[in-house]
């Protein structure tokens, strides 16, 4: 689908920021050739996915309160069908990183992200999540969640007002609508750190099995 043909109800194409990114994305998609049938199916699935984005309830600090405001009556993200906040990462599609991520929290966020079911998205909400924000000089703060997990949309603000969050979610809706669904699976390479983790898990598994054997 062309970026220009992208329809978002009552918002014009030109009112959105960063259209260049989407255009580039479309160009890359086209390189692999477009199959009409798959393209059509893509559009159907993407229509569904883009209108049903269930966020994970994940809030660490101040942005979390503004995120609650987005869900409350005034802004009401239910209008977009995004109100089904799931507490389990298994059932959610997007994680709003609302608040500062510190050193101790980083592995937790990574684990939550890892446990989410594909396709999954990340919105960095507020200065802290984007770049460490106010705390970027601190010894304990992660300078941008994109160091830990891939971020799809950045919503600046400290904290962003609820409507700004809606705008960010509309940006994500546009991104989802453009994606080639069947080209989606992006397997992130397992980092050496993760290998250590995997080994540890394997060990635990062995211990568990051994314990079972004794019983």
């Amino acid at each position: 689908m062309e970026v220009k043909n992208l329809r978002v109800k009552s918002m014009n194409h030109v009112t959105f920021n960063d259209n260049e990114y989407l255009e580039q994305y479309v160009e890359e998609l086209k390189k692999g050739g477009v199959n009409v049938a798959i393209g059509c199916l893509d559009d159907c699935i993407n229509w569904g996915r883009s209108h049903s984005v269930w966020p994970l309830t994940f809030a660490t600090a101040c942005c979390g309160i503004e995120f609650m405001c987005v869900g409350a009556a005034r802004t009401d993200f239910a209008r977009f069908g995004w109100e089904v906040t799931r507490n389990s990462p298994r059932q959610s599609d997007v994680v709003f990183v609302a608040g500062t991520i510190v050193n101790k929290m980083a592995p937790v966020l990574k684990r939550l992200y890892d446990q989410m079911a594909e396709p999954k998205y990340v919105i960095a909400m507020g200065g802290c999540a984007i770049s460490g924000g106010p705390f970027k000089n601190s010894y304990n703060v992660v300078k941008g969640v994109n160091e830990i997990i891939p971020v799809d949309v950045y919503v600046p603000g400290c904290p962003p007002r609820p409507n700004a969050v809606l705008y960010g979610m509309l940006q994500m809706e546009r991104k989802i609508k453009l994606e080639g669904f069947f080209k989606l699976p992006k397997k992130p390479a397992i980092t050496p750190e993760e290998k250590v983790w995997a080994e540890r898990l394997a060990k635990e598994e062995e211990a568990r099995k051994a314990a079972k054997g004794i019983k």
Binding site: G48, G81, N87, S88, R90, Q115
Partner: protein, 356 residues
């Protein structure tokens, strides 16, 4: 319309029997009936999901889904597409067989109950002489699925959720059962068609004051059996994050989601059939003109209309009250509802013998 529907079905039946062998005919018919059930089941779930989301939004002075299609009616379709294309996560350390069987049992439980309902005059899957009994029995199959889901996930939240749901559902099963018994006493039969016939002149709630008590008890118990708030202890969003289905992703979670809404419908439908006259129109004895007007409304509208009213009541309760704690739940069941329903049976029996 339901009668025309039956006529139509009969015509198809004769058409088929004239042309094809009898065994094939019944096979084709089975497939058609099955597909019909499935479609109705899915449609009702989809409708109820959007219905709840809209109503819940209005209770909370919000608008609810309104951007996908007119008034947001295609919202659930989008959800369905999304949930179908979500990854099903292969878990480690869980009991694979039970884990995948659990959604199946939940769906089967609610579909079986669904099969025992009457949707309009003459539109039903099966008509038993123990119909009420059957509905009571199969509607509690789902709970096995819930417990299996909670246990097989090997997750602490889900395990606690499963335990709670066990305690909850077996408790409220009792009240539901006893409140139905009051109706069986009044109607003198367990056959749904017979009960329908008994309500032709007046619905059961107009036949005896004790039906009201039974109805209230039944509604509370049925609400509790659907695991929806204030009785959502097995899910307990704020305590157990998502309770028994915390590890389910993609469509496997979707099955629980769909079954939850179908159970909502099924419980309301049973309540309608047994207490509110099912597909029978509202009749006032001796008021012929009024009765004729009421009769003009098709029976399926009566059925679904009354069911929707009950569902709306259930939603109203859900979106107003906080969740019960497990001891409050048991207090409510064992110390309030059970004595009341036992007393109600006796009183109903006395009423039937001496005042009717």
């Amino acid at each position: 319309m339901s009668l025309e529907l039956i006529d139509g079905i009969n015509k198809i039946h004769t058409l088929l029997t004239d042309n094809i062998e009898a065994t094939w005919v019944s096979l084709i018919e089975y497939v058609l009936v099955g597909l019909g059930f499935l479609t109705l089941y899915a449609l009702i779930a989809l409708f109820l999901i959007i219905f709840e989301r809209k109503i819940c939004a209005y209770f909370q002075c919000r608008l609810g889904p309104n951007r996908v299609g007119p008034w947001g009616i295609f919202q659930v379709i989008a959800d369905m597409v999304k949930i179908l294309t979500k990854e099903i996560i292969p878990l480690k350390h869980n009991d694979k067989l039970l884990y995948y069987a659990a959604p199946f049992i939940v769906i089967m439980g609610s579909l079986l109950t669904f099969g025992g309902l009457q949707f309009a005059e003459g539109v039903y899957g099966v008509d038993f002489n123990v119909g009420v009994f059957y509905l009571l029995a199969v509607s509690s199959i789902s709970i096995i699925g819930v417990m299996l889901a909670g246990w097989s996930s090997n997750n602490k939240y889900s395990l606690i959720g499963a335990m709670r749901s066990g305690a909850q559902v077996i408790s409220f099963e009792l009240s539901a059962c006893l409140s139905m018994m009051a109706i069986v006493i009044l109607g003198g039969s367990m056959n749904l068609s017979a009960l329908m016939a008994a309500q032709e002149d007046a619905w059961f709630i107009f036949q005896s004051p004790f039906t009201w008590v039974a109805l209230v008890i039944y509604l509370i118990a049925a609400h509790a059996e659907t695991n929806r708030g204030p009785f959502d202890l097995p899910e307990a969003e704020s305590e157990l994050t998502a309770g028994y289905h915390v590890e389910y992703s993609g469509i496997t979670f979707g099955f629980f989601y769909v079954a939850e809404y179908c159970n909502l419908f099924i419980n309301a439908a049973i309540g309608t059939l047994v207490f509110l006259g099912g597909w029978q129109a509202l009749h006032i004895p001796g008021c012929e003109g009024f009765n004729a007007v009421m009769d003009a409304i098709p029976s399926y509208i009566w059925m679904f209309g009354k069911t929707l009213v009950l569902i709306f009541l259930s939603l109203w309760v859900r979106w107003t009250f906080p969740r019960l704690r497990i001891d409050q739940l048991l207090h409510l069941e064992w110390k309030i509802m059970l004595p009341f329903s036992l007393a109600n049976i006796l009183l109903m029996a006395i009423w039937v013998i001496y005042f009717k």
